[in-house]
Amino acid sequence: MEFKQLKNIVEAALLAADHPLTADQLLKLFEDDEQIPSKDDVKKVISELEEDCAERGYELKKIASGYRYQTRVEIQGWVSKLRVERPPKYSRAFMETLALVVYRQPITRAEIEDVRGVSISSSIFKVLLEREWIKIIGHKEVPGRPAMYGTTKKFLDYFNLKTLNELPSLAEIKDLDQVHPELAFMDAEEQKVPDAPVQLEVIEGGVDAETRH
């Protein structure tokens, strides 16, 4: 097969696929052909395709489960007008639960609740599991054998990531003993508190469909 045709087919396949495709999956499209292209050819095609759309409104993106064509963030404002429904919005409780699973996997529900200091509504897990962003990856051998959760490739795909390593790293924890040992007990009344009028700030995103139903 000519390189050009190979490229045309790979491009069309990637455009038409409803899920990301790996180089191996792309190779499989040709398995009935007389001359099967090499994996190197396919990779070369992919990198050419990536370049071809470098200045376009869409890109060929590599994410966890393969390559996928998608529109660029820059033109989100226009393209999102195509969608009648608004994108799902997730509550802070939902995002914090997700963040804990992401950074602390495998983690149980009780462990998440422990860090957050509040109980978590089951609907949050239900939605996370239904969206297949998290899955049960085992059970902890403690009384009750609670399920342990971890993230999935679908989660990475959805958030445009190849691996979890691409996520920003967690903030460091400062050590109480080292930072301000002298302050340890200097407290209470001596601490001047600026008495500015205060408004309730952090309401953003706190209230949301998810937590409500």
Binding site: L15, A16, A17, D18, Y58, Y69, Q70, T71, V73, Q76, S80, L82, R83, P87, R92, A93, M95, E96, L98, A99, L100, V102, Y103, V115, R116, G117, V118, D157, Y158, F159, N160, L161, L167, P168, L170, A171, I173, K174, L176, H180, P181, L183, A184, F185, D187, A188, Q191, D195, A196, P197, V198, Q199, L200, E201, V202, I203, E204, G206, V207, T211
Partner: protein, 290 residues
């Protein structure tokens, strides 16, 4: 949704409140002046619990608002403010999550411990605030992480998958493969949910009985009338005969079949329970008797 409350807070509050009703009752006392420096408009209190993701979040808010470092947690101050919030919420009869009260108790405990004289040899690691500070920091990390994740461009919101139509696809249908273990697993799941175990004595029911019931019904579907004795296979021996007989009794009990005998000692026949409408035997045409 950041609140830019037009309502003046501390400075103007006293005058403004002259003719006003107390807006809250704290410990039985009317409160006409909102607590200084933590004024939340009463309307906003309604959404208070939704605004904060729990007591840690509220504490963080109180600390950040004063530009304080978590590590220098001014416990007395924070405790006082925290408890004032709780008091306000209670008086507005907001449903208060238990976690908020637990935190109040914890703060009070820390505060009281800090007021007590300390033995000299006690090191910093015994700072009663240490555990709370650790939890606050830990929570703050994930709160930040959640915000970071929120920023990541994601499908449906920032980027959109491209899924071009395929022209004239001849759908090559491939039937899903199922493995026995998947089937067992499904049953396991559905039973676990339905709690059938607890309610029924199905354990006693053997599968062979159920299968035989199906076989008996199937043979009726083909022939409509079946001789009783033909249902038994001698080769199956005693157990087989018992299973078949039990299956017939079970079907009879459920009124799925009828047993008929034209006269004494005539052959006994089994037929499907009487069908009300002539001609409408088994619906689904081709499927019966397969």
């Amino acid at each position: 949704m950041t609140e830019e409350q037009p309502k003046p807070a501390s400075e103007d509050a006293p005058q403004a409140q002259q003719n006003e009703m107390p807006f809250a009752m704290v410990h039985g006392e009317p409160v006409t002046v909102p607590p200084q420096d933590l004024y939340i408009p009463p309307d906003a209190l309604e959404i208070f619990l939704d605004a904060f993701e729990g007591p840690l979040d509220l504490l963080l808010y109180l600390i950040k608002r004063q530009n304080l470092d978590i590590l220098t947690l001014p416990i007395a101050n924070i405790t006082q403010q925290y408890i004032e919030y709780i008091g306000l919420m209670k008086d507005l009869r907001l449903e208060l999550a238990a976690e908020y009260l637990v935190m109040a108790a914890m703060l009070a405990e820390i505060k009281s411990r800090m007021l007590l004289p300390r033995p000299i040899e006690e090191g910093e690691e015994d700072d009663p605030r240490a555990e709370l500070i650790r939890r606050l920091q830990e929570y703050e990390r994930f709160k930040k992480a959640a915000e970071d994740i929120e920023e990541i461009p994601r499908v449906e919101r920032d980027v959109f998958e491209i899924n071009v139509i395929q022209t004239e696809v001849v759908v090559e249908e491939k039937l899903p493969q199922v493995e026995l273990k998947d089937l067992m697993h499904s049953l396991h799941q559905v039973l676990r949910r339905s709690e059938m175990y607890a309610a029924h004595e199905i354990k006693k029911e053997t599968l062979s009985l159920r299968e035989r019931m199906t076989q008996v019904l199937s043979s009726l579907a083909v022939d409509d009338f079946v001789e009783f004795s033909s249902l038994f296979t001698i080769a199956e021996g005693r157990d087989g005969v018992i299973v078949t007989f039990t299956a017939i009794l079970e079907l009879l009990k459920d009124r799925m079949i009828e047993i008929v005998q034209s006269e004494m000692f005539a052959p006994i026949y089994i037929k499907p329970a009487s069908q009300i409408v002539e001609g409408e035997t088994l619906e689904g045409g081709g499927n019966d008797g397969v």
